[in-house]
């Protein structure tokens, strides 16, 4: 009894594990499904979105770079003005010193 049951089970297992060739239409059906899933118009939109994303990233990077350059230019200009202002102040004070020295010499 038990032996017969085992034979049936083995038979079923054998059938289930038996290698069967894929039906010839399977590949065609898979390819059709794939094409259906991504229609040409969808592909265009996806490509467009990807392009726009890349352009936005590049544009953002370029703008950031330009802003950094502009900031640097303004900073260098401010620095130059500070130096000019201090140089003029220094020159004026030098002249004051020279005049005072001349005045002191004249008074002696």
């Amino acid at each position: 009894m038990v032996h017969e049951e085992m034979d049936d089970f083995e038979q079923e297992l054998k059938q289930a594990l038996q290698r069967r060739p894929a039906p010839p239409s399977l590949k065609r059906r898979v390819m059709e499904r794939r094409v259906q899933r991504r229609s040409p118009s969808q592909m265009v939109w996806m490509r467009l979105a990807a392009t726009l994303l890349i352009v936005a990233l590049l544009g953002g990077g370029l703008r950031w770079g330009m802003e950094q350059r502009e900031e640097r230019r303004k900073g260098e200009e401010a620095k130059r003005q500070v130096m000019v202002a201090l140089r003029i102040t220094g020159r004026a004070l030098n002249q004051v010193n020279t005049r005072l020295a001349a005045h002191d010499r004249g008074g002696e």
């Binding site: 000019v84 201090l86 102040t89 220094g90 004070l93 005045h103």
Partner: protein, 198 residues
């Protein structure tokens, strides 16, 4: 009629207040129009206006490794503003001594103390250095130097550390400011001694 005259009076008051406010905005306290007039007559003009924000911005770009720039950064930190006007003229008499006197008078307040005041006999060459003192510390310097063909106005507002000025070796003259103050103190002391002895 009475109403119209009142309105005119109010209008005049508003305009006056606006003019005063505009004059106060100009830190050099040059009367409105004078600055433009001087610039128009000068053959060479240098105008530097740096407020607190601009000084803070500039200090970010001063290299801490360079000795002069590091000293400059330390000097301008905390300053309220640097205002410089330098006019060079081709011929004499392009500005009036009244204009200079007007400018000088605007600094003749209790908080500004004259350090140097010199007049040439002919009166065409004048030098003024004034310090703004707050609780015994210098919080501003005003330099007015008038030559027949050159006019230099410098106003630095904010706490100025004299010891920092001396470190600016590349900017000759600024170090002299420290000496100037020392000289003045020495002269004051000498005066006190003489005064005490008399």
């Amino acid at each position: 009629m009475w109403m119209r005259s009142k309105l005119l009076q109010v209008g005049a008051l508003v305009l006056g207040a606006a003019a005063v406010a505009a004059a106060q905005d100009s830190p050099l306290l040059l009367p409105p129009g004078v600055e433009k007039e001087l610039a128009a007559r000068a053959s060479d003009v240098t105008e530097v206006t740096l407020g607190k924000n601009m000084l803070g911005f500039a200090s970010k770009f001063l290299n801490g490794k360079d000795e002069d720039e590091a000293a400059t950064r330390k000097l301008i930190e905390g300053l309220q503003g640097i205002y410089v006007r330098e006019y060079e003229f081709d011929k004499e008499g392009e500005y009036s001594m009244e204009q200079i006197e007007q400018l000088r008078k605007s600094f003749e307040t209790t908080e500004w103390s004259p350090i140097v005041r010199e007049r040439e006999r002919k009166g065409r060459e004048t030098t003024d250095v004034m310090m703004k003192m707050v609780n015994g510390e210098s919080h501003g310097i005003f330099v007015l130097e008038a030559d027949p063909k050159e006019l230099t106005i410098v106003l630095i507002l904010g706490p100025i550390r004299m010891e920092d000025l001396g470190k600016l070796k590349g900017l000759s003259g600024l170090g002299a400011l420290g000496d100037l103050e020392k000289d003045t103190k020495v002269k004051d002391k000498e005066k006190d001694k003489k005064g005490g002895g008399e």
